[in-house]
Amino acid sequence: MTDQTPEAPIVRIRDLHKRYGDLDVLRGVSLDVTRGEVVVIIGPSGTGKSTLLRCINQLTRPDSGRVWLDGVEVTAPECNLNEVRAEVGMVFQDFNLFNHLTAIKNVAIGPIRVLHMDRAQALELARYELERVGLAGKADAYPGQLSGGQKQRVAIARALAMKPKVMLFDEPTSALDPELIGEVLEVMKKLAQEHMTMLVVTHEMGFAREVANRIVFMEGGNIVEEGPPAQLFYAAQHPRTAEFLGKIADLYGDEQGSSG
């Protein structure tokens, strides 16, 4: 990790627009993320949070607007997207593990196929990454033999093995049974403590409050408000922010403070 310009944002997003048919998903979103920052994006469903994440590694091409990753414009037509994606880790709601590969091979296949790493070296790296997410003992298990929480931790290890500059989490705990959410959030918390740059779309407000450096509240394809957790949770500037957080608090009750 280079640190000659700690001030320069590692992710810079300018005026992003995306529409699907009649639906304006993103309406001019701009956002900077600095190295080592944990940004949690919250907001109602269908407000473009996932689309925003997918525009960073260009799994979704925006209609207009520009995105830079570590100074390289990924929205430029000549940009090699495979190289960009190799530097951005992504964790999906549905895990999307490769079902025909054991946990360790799920983690090793990226370094082998994309980084052309030596096979033995890649497996060693994969073992290390599995250990980091607490799954050293499950190296030879197939995804079908793992619980949801374990699958998601393998998916995190798979992303980490690429030594990404940024990690994108797209609702990583939304598909999990409640009792399995904690183990995934625990791993994410550890990553944050190791100063991994993270963009996290989640409804886990406990995690947001505890781990985020900044919370971004999105609605209707726009960023309505952003700021440190204390500001959004206790001194929201925008009535919609307060309303949304109030609804979430009603839904999850007092456990919000303790979960995650």
């Binding site: 799994l59 190799a86 992504m90 999906f92 999307n96 994309v114 995804p143 079908g144 033999q145 690429m162």
Partner: protein, 241 residues
């Protein structure tokens, strides 16, 4: 009666055996041709551009929508048409370019036909793998081709084993149509014996049993293959007819 039967069996066995080998060769060859046609066709149908998808779909629909016997006769008799041959000669092709040997016509007709069906089996299998894993592979930085080769196909081919074993079993039986273009396959040899000895009530059940034995053998073999390639923790839904 019994000695007669043994004598008769000894007499017809060499011919039936030869026919059986033709049937097996034809089945294996047509399945292989079908695989070589079907797999790329399925990939074009799922991942191709709009034009490729349309072409692949048209091919599959035409072949699956017309009788196999019509296809066989078209390739054997239709392509041998004198007018067509004259045109081809004018274009610089050798005389009789599309006048095919019965065995060649049989391979082509059965292989192309099987290709269309196999394309559908593979397409179903590819789609069953789902797009999420493809997206995850692309997110790692794999090219589309890498993601298809290393992530989608290894799973799709496993899922295709069950329907493919059906195709293999069908193929062995379907090959019997080639006796109509004078190929001496198992059924062709049986027909020749029947025309000489008028013993349909013996020969038809007999060849039927031989086909049945082959089909059962294939089914049994493919069940083993299926078990061998199964992914632990993934229930592969057997799609047997």
């Amino acid at each position: 009666m019994i000695p007669n039967l043994v004598e008769f069996w000894e007499m017809i066995w060499p011919n039936l055996g030869r026919g059986l080998i033709v049937t097996l060769k034809l089945s294996a060859g047509a399945l292989l041709i079908g695989l070589l046609i079907g797999l790329p066709t399925s990939l074009l149908r799922v991942y191709g551009t709009r034009g490729m998808r349309a072409a692949a779909t048209a091919f599959v629909d035409i072949i699956r929508g017309t009788p196999q016997l019509v296809q066989l006769f078209f390739i054997y008799y239709g392509l041998a048409d004198a007018g067509l041959n004259a045109i081809l000669v004018n274009l610089g092709f050798p005389n009789g370019f599309l006048v095919l040997e019965p065995m060649v016509a049989a391979y082509v007709a059965l292989g192309v036909n099987s290709g269309a069906y196999q394309a559908e089996y593979f397409r179903g299998a590819i789609q069953a793998v789902g797009s999420g894993q493809l997206t995850a592979a692309r997110a790692l930085g794999m090219t589309r081709l890498q993601a298809i080769l290393h992530i989608v196909l290894p799973q799709a081919l496993r899922l295709a084993v069950a329907p493919w074993s059906n195709e293999a079993a069908y193929m062995v039986k379907y090959t019997s149509v080639v006796s109509l273009i004078a190929v001496s396959d198992l059924f062709g040899e049986a027909r020749r014996i029947m025309s000489r000895h008028y013993n349909q009530m013996l020969m038809l059940p007999l060849v039927g049993l031989v086909y049945l034995a082959i089909v059962l053998l294939i089914t049994w073999l493919m069940q083993h293959v299926e078990k061998r390639v199964a992914i632990p923790g993934v229930e592969v839904e057997a799609q047997r007819a």
